[in-house]
């Protein structure tokens, strides 16, 4: 779960990470009130989960009340790479002597947290990594031991930070590691981490990803979901307990299990089609879940044909067939369906579908055959 900048900063503040003081706002009026409270000059920042918003006009400095109003009006509702700005964060403008980069990432390959520090802050870190990898100091932390003070000093020296801020920067890394562990994040990134003329170390930005599987231990964080960033179909699926990812094609796809679902999208693409979505109906798909899934798929009006690809293991194909028959009773879809049922109770499932003789439903016995058929139907539509 990705947090907005200000949500990340609020988490930071709880763990003693210095951040500029500020307030969120959802209207121009609230934004002006926030600017008045924070004082001038202040920064008016679009809250969207995307990098590079400053260059696209999503961050502006206001020196007066009039400017605060003008900038808030301009930024609220603006489109930044496909995301609409619904929220602003207004904070006191910072004086910057130096811009660094700091992060703690969940390194799957090493199976340990990786802490990174660079004096090349304020730019795209992937680009720095490509062009000048030596500019980034990195080290792995033993998750059983935790972050040690010497590791903070070592990173600061290796990154080449100014001598007078070696210890404060090291201490900052320890705090960021604390956020990473205590909040069960999979990413904590600060870019830029700034040094002020008073030689204070501050997080000027915050990018935090929390582990959705750990939210049961963090009731406060569970409310931080950014609903405005979610696609309507994805939100509908989530509310129904389905795993759904929106894609940009016109063939609705449902399969059981994450791997088979991904594989089905690939086979459809291989056959010349473009999938409209990923939908994993789960390992033990039952009839009501199938009905829900059909509703979610068809709520995307780009969908011209639908493919069901089920290989029953724990899932029983007769259950899937019953779910589909039930769904047709409730919804009466206007697009053709191709249904491939194989594995546990495949015969019974295909039999049920044949008896129901649903309009515009084609059955296939292989994955490849089903993909070819659905692509043909989508093209004809």
């Amino acid at each position: 779960m990705d947090l907005l900048e200000y949500q990340g900063k609020q988490l930071f503040a709880r763990h003693g990470v210095p951040v500029p003081t500020g307030q969120p706002a959802r209207t121009v009026e609230d934004a002006v009130a926030a600017a008045e409270a924070v004082g001038y000059p202040c920064a008016i920042k679009a809250q969207v989960q995307i990098g590079g918003r400053g260059k696209l006009g999503g961050i502006k400095i206001a020196n007066t009340r009039a400017e605060a109003e003008e900038h808030s009006r301009a930024i609220l509702g603006m489109d930044i790479r496909g995301l609409t700005v619904h929220e602003l964060w207004i904070e006191g403008a910072s004086q910057i002597d130096a811009e660094y980069y700091a992060s703690v990432v969940f390194d799957r390959s090493a199976k340990a947290p990786l802490v990174m520090l660079s004096t090349k802050g304020g730019m795209d870190i992937e680009q720095v990594a490509d062009e000048d990898p030596d500019a980034i100091a990195t080290l792995h932390v033993d998750p059983l031991l935790g972050f040690q003070d010497f590791q903070g000093r070592r990173l600061a020296y290796e990154a080449g930070v100014a001598a007078d801020v070696v210890r404060p920067v090291g201490a900052m890394l320890a705090k960021l590691y604390d956020v990473f562990v205590s909040e069960e994040a999979t990413l904590v990134e600060v870019n830029p981490l700034i040094i002020t003329p008073e030689r204070e170390v501050k997080a000027l930005d915050a990018k935090v990803t929390l582990d959705g599987n750990a939210l049961f231990r963090h009731a406060d964080n569970a409310d931080l979901r950014d609903l405005s960033a979610e696609d309507p179909q994805e939100r509908m699926a989530k509310e129904r307990g389905l795993t759904y990812v929106k894609l940009d094609g016109n063939i609705g796809v449902l399969a059981n299990g994450a791997g088979l679902s991904m594989s089905t999208l690939d086979v459809v693409a291989e056959a010349g089609g473009r999938p409209a979505n990923f939908l994993d109906a789960g390992g033990g798909s039952r009839a009501d879940a199938i009905t829900s899934a059909v509703e979610v798929i068809l709520s995307d009006d780009k969908v011209k044909a639908v493919l069901f690809n089920i290989f029953g293991g724990i899932t029983r194909c007769d259950e899937v067939a019953k779910g589909l028959i039930e769904a047709f009773k409730q919804i009466n879809p206007s697009v053709p369906f191709v249904v491939r049922l194989d594995g546990t109770n495949g015969e019974e499932g295909r039999q049920l579908l044949a008896e129901a003789s649903l309009p515009n439903v084609h059955t296939e016995s292989t994955m490849d055959g089903a993909a070819a058929k659905v692509v043909e139907l989508a093209k004809a539509a």
């Binding site: 799957r108 791997g259 991904m262 990923f278 293991g313 899932t315 490849d368």
Partner: protein
């Protein structure tokens, strides 16, 4: 031969009194696996259709000689259950549970690694099947017969799909190992591929990967250096967009990293044949083993 589980497996299920735990423990026993015990704290002394239930793994080991654990408890209790099984001296722990917090997995993985006593398979995996010998987990055993193809996979249903296509082409399996779809699997491709390389019965290895992480790339290097048997690869997720978790917690393309194309390329660069569809995997198997 087979790997990891066989006739000598003595299984103890954690969460055996839950609906899923009961159902699958009994299915595993029906298949022929020795299911010798179950663990549910507070229910010690009961039994599940004749399988004795204990309060702790330690009792299950002391009284029934359990040497393999299957974890079926809900995600918030799973890490604790794995650590208990390890502490009790169980050598092989198979965790079916999906949705375990990533930091729990990190702690468990590093603890097991440091102690060096137990191997963890999973979490978020369908388990292991050694056809004709033993089944631990939820793999539908009826689709598979004994044979010479070893399969290792990050996904359950995809394994059944590919296994079924292989079976239709006349192949059986030495063992089928689901390593799971989470970001921190206890056992990786290279561990299992190494075991198949040593296993006399296995003549061909099929590995099913998916987007996310770099386990497939690591496997490619390992295969080039240590594996003489033919390996066929399959990667799911060529059409997956970046930044989206595709069902499995570990299946996510991060920036430009972890794409299916990069994994297929890494494997092919080391001489592994990669099928673009499950059907192509079977066709390649036929061409290599000549059925």
């Amino acid at each position: 031969m087979s790997i990891l589980i066989d006739e000598n497996t003595r299984l103890c299920t954690s969460g055996i009194t839950g609906r899923e735990g009961t159902f699958h423990s009994l299915r595993n026993r029906e298949y022929g696996t020795q299911v010798v015990a179950g663990v549910t704290p507070g229910k010690g002394g009961q039994d599940v259709e004749g399988i004795p239930v204990f309060n702790t793994f330690h009792e299950a080991v002391a009284k029934e000689g359990a040497n393999t654990a299957m974890i079926f408890v809900p995600p918030r209790f799973a890490a604790d259950s794995i650590l208990e099984a390890e502490d009790a001296g169980i050598e092989l722990i198979i965790c079916i549970t999906e949705g375990i917090p990533a930091h729990d997995e990190l702690r468990v993985y590093n603890t097991l690694k440091k102690n060096g006593r137990s191997r963890l398979i999973g979490p978020n995996c369908p388990g292991i099947l050694s056809p004709g010998k033993a089944s631990v987990g939820i793999i539908p055993a009826s689709f598979f017969s004994q044979g010479n193809v070893g399969v290792v996979s990050r996904s359950g249903t995809l394994t059944y799909q590919i296994g079924n296509v292989l079976a239709q082409s006349g192949f059986g399996n030495s063992s089928i190992v689901g390593i799971g779809g989470d970001p921190v699997p206890g056992t990786d491709f290279i561990d299992v591929i190494g075991m198949f390389q040593e296993d006399d019965e296995t003549e061909l290895i099929v590995m099913c990967g998916e987007i996310g992480g770099d386990a497939e790339e690591q496997a490619a290097d390992f295969i080039a250096e240590h594996v003489t048997k033919p390996v066929i690869g399959y990667i799911a997720g060529f059409t997956a967009p970046p930044g989206k978790t595709m069902g499995h917690a570990g299946a996510i393309v991060s920036g430009s990293k972890g794409t299916a194309a990069a994994k297929a390329e890494a494997l092919e660069a080391k001489g592994v044949k990669v099928g673009r569809t499950p059907t192509q995997v079977a066709e390649t198997a036929v061409s290599l083993l000549g059925k």
